[in-house]
Symmetry: none
Subunit: 206 residues, 4 copies
DNA sequence: AATGAATGAGACTTCATTCAT
DNA sequence: AATGAATGAAGTCTCATTCAT
């Protein structure tokens, strides 16, 4: 459903058109998967190379640094989760409906669908000295989207909208720490529950 | 409910009796500070030793592995945040007041006061293979406390109470990722705002 | 005496006939410049390729190893400095005048004019295992020229001539280690000073 | 005769007093030997470690960088050659005798006796980016000594003294490039020949 | 003649840990 | 309780070189 799932599953052994199909997509995929499973520092370039089936040094044909690789994954993660949320939101008109749809899309991306998006939530820019600022900048792109969603809510005070946004996004992101795919709740239902808890209290009666 | 506190901190090594001048407290303090500032993997034993003013090898007089040191810090973190929350809670009677007080205590601990507590929120047990399960077990002690607070709320369905707890605690914990001490809001005010957002919607009118 | 110049530069690959626009001259120039600026081991094939504007692998269309490339540069360096010295020498008759002219030509080449010649002085054959002997052989061509210049001097003993040659050439070559283009002395004046220091002491009074 | 030869040959296997006899002296010796035999870039930390019989990482107990190790060797080289030259000079009074003695001491050190001193002549500060300036500064200490020797010569013009010093020292240093221990001339005789070539021409008749 | 991607070896360095003293 | 030196494994990255296209 999200862009991350559309990749055409480039098979492991197909050295056909040498120039056309480099291993770059596979490298990004593997890096995204491993970074979000083990963290940035917990993932070695050996891990990534091995997952792709190349030598560690070969990664440096595509990226000059492990951190650069992270930055590429991170940027794509922001791109993809932005797209997913925007796509979910654009069919709705009511601000609360839009917010709920965003929550569902966000949570499905970071819990189930999109390793790239998952990295954005999982990896702290602070643990990546050299490109840390770049990552913060990328992440801010996405947070601006949420700010616009929150700003549209019919709430009495501006302070409430900011608090609501921080609370909601934080609660969603933190779900990465306790969510289990085989548990009783789906990302969708979790997102709806969370939204409902806020909505019923703050929604202005029509 | 208070059972969580009965385990008397199962200290790392034996603090025996004499030698009150041992370096052990300093080591724990330094480790707590560094683990929460740089993460577990981002902190080297050299960092900790240097912060205390001893050599890296000397740490192993007190702990047999870096992970054991983390476990000691983590356990104490759970102890301390349990105490802080319990102390805050025990003067109130109304379930919502108790929850709000818990939120304030929790947030002040993990954002401002207590490096040990901070580590509990900062470090993922998953990054620490050997003692990971122990950390999860410790953390569960604390979460049980929150479950009891949530269970006391007068809400229609049990599911709501669980969702509310996960949402609130997640939102609070995630604040570690965006809170800045020199920002406009104090931990206390953030905690109150978050609680209010939930309270007004779910509180049953008396 | 001029036999040293008869070997016509035994080029690296075949410069065949057509394709005057080949990148080969640029490659040699860049390699000469970089080898003498950074040494052989301090220069990577990437450096050279980048200086030419091609990819590292493309160098191997012209040379089969980095050492072969050095050998080509080195050989040309010997050719060129031989030519320069011979040209400077051939207009003089007096042995001391010829020696002085040779010194000026040599020093101007290795300090100012000729990156290829510079490489001959800068790069130790010992650093280059595979083609090391070849380089020594090339260098010997040039030293034979100096031997003939020294042999022509009217000195009492043969030993003096050899010592004088080694001393003079060594002193000139070592100037690469301290000469600065923006310093007070030109290569020419340095060469003349050095020659004078020897000449006044050893010249047999007419 | 030089200090380098006085070390008491700490045997390879003697793990007696663990604290007293670390491998540091052996490391320095091995580094000096290898740096002057293969150059700085041509010597790997593995080479050095293997020569001492330790693991490569163990070098970093004593030096934080390969370049730092070079700096230590280099500094000691300057110290030792200064001492050797000063010791040789102090028994003479005549300026030319002193210069000749210095030449002999210098050449014996860099050709025969002292690997540390040899490194000072062999390794170009330019190829060591980080500590390059430090090395230049060390080397200048030694060159000041030679300047004082040259300044004492009874020569008509100051320019001559500088040229003479540069010429002589350059010729001596360059001998590293052609001297063979099994050749016909000893360092002592070479040094004397070189000095004589200058002395007979420039010495002012008494 | 040149590219783009990969190789394979090896570079320097870091790290948690050990152990005799 | 602490030191100082060393270990062994692993880390990121670089380099000369290859080869199908």
């Amino acid at each position: 459903m999200t862009a991350a799932l559309r990749k055409p599953a480039a098979g492991p052994a197909r050295p056909r058109a040498a120039h056309a199909d480099s291993r770059l997509p596979q490298i990004l995929d593997a890096a995204a998967r491993l970074f979000c499973a083990q963290g940035f520092q917990g993932t070695t370039v050996r891990d990534i190379a091995q997952a792709v089936g190349i030598l560690p040094g070969s990664l440096y044909c595509h990226f000059s640094t492990k951190e650069d690789l992270l930055a590429a994954v991170y940027t794509r993660g922001v791109d993809q989760i932005c797209q997913a949320v925007l796509a979910a939101v654009e069919r709705r008109n009511d601000p609360w409906d839009r917010l709920e749809a965003a929550c569902v899309a966000h949570l499905e991306a970071i819990l189930r669908d999109d390793d790239y998006a998952r990295v954005v939530v999982r990896v702290r820019p602070g643990e990546v000295s050299a490109v840390g600022e770049r990552l913060v900048h990328e992440r801010d792109r996405y947070e601006a989207l949420w700010a616009s969603l929150a700003d549209a809510l019919p709430l009495p005070r501006r302070a409430d909208r900011k608090a609501l946004r921080l609370m909601l996004l934080g609660a969603l992101n933190w779900a990465q720490n306790w969510y289990r795919p085989d548990g009783p709740s789906s990302p969708r239902s979790i997102a709806r529950q969370f939204t409902a808890l806020l909505r019923q209290g703050t929604e202005t009666p029509a």
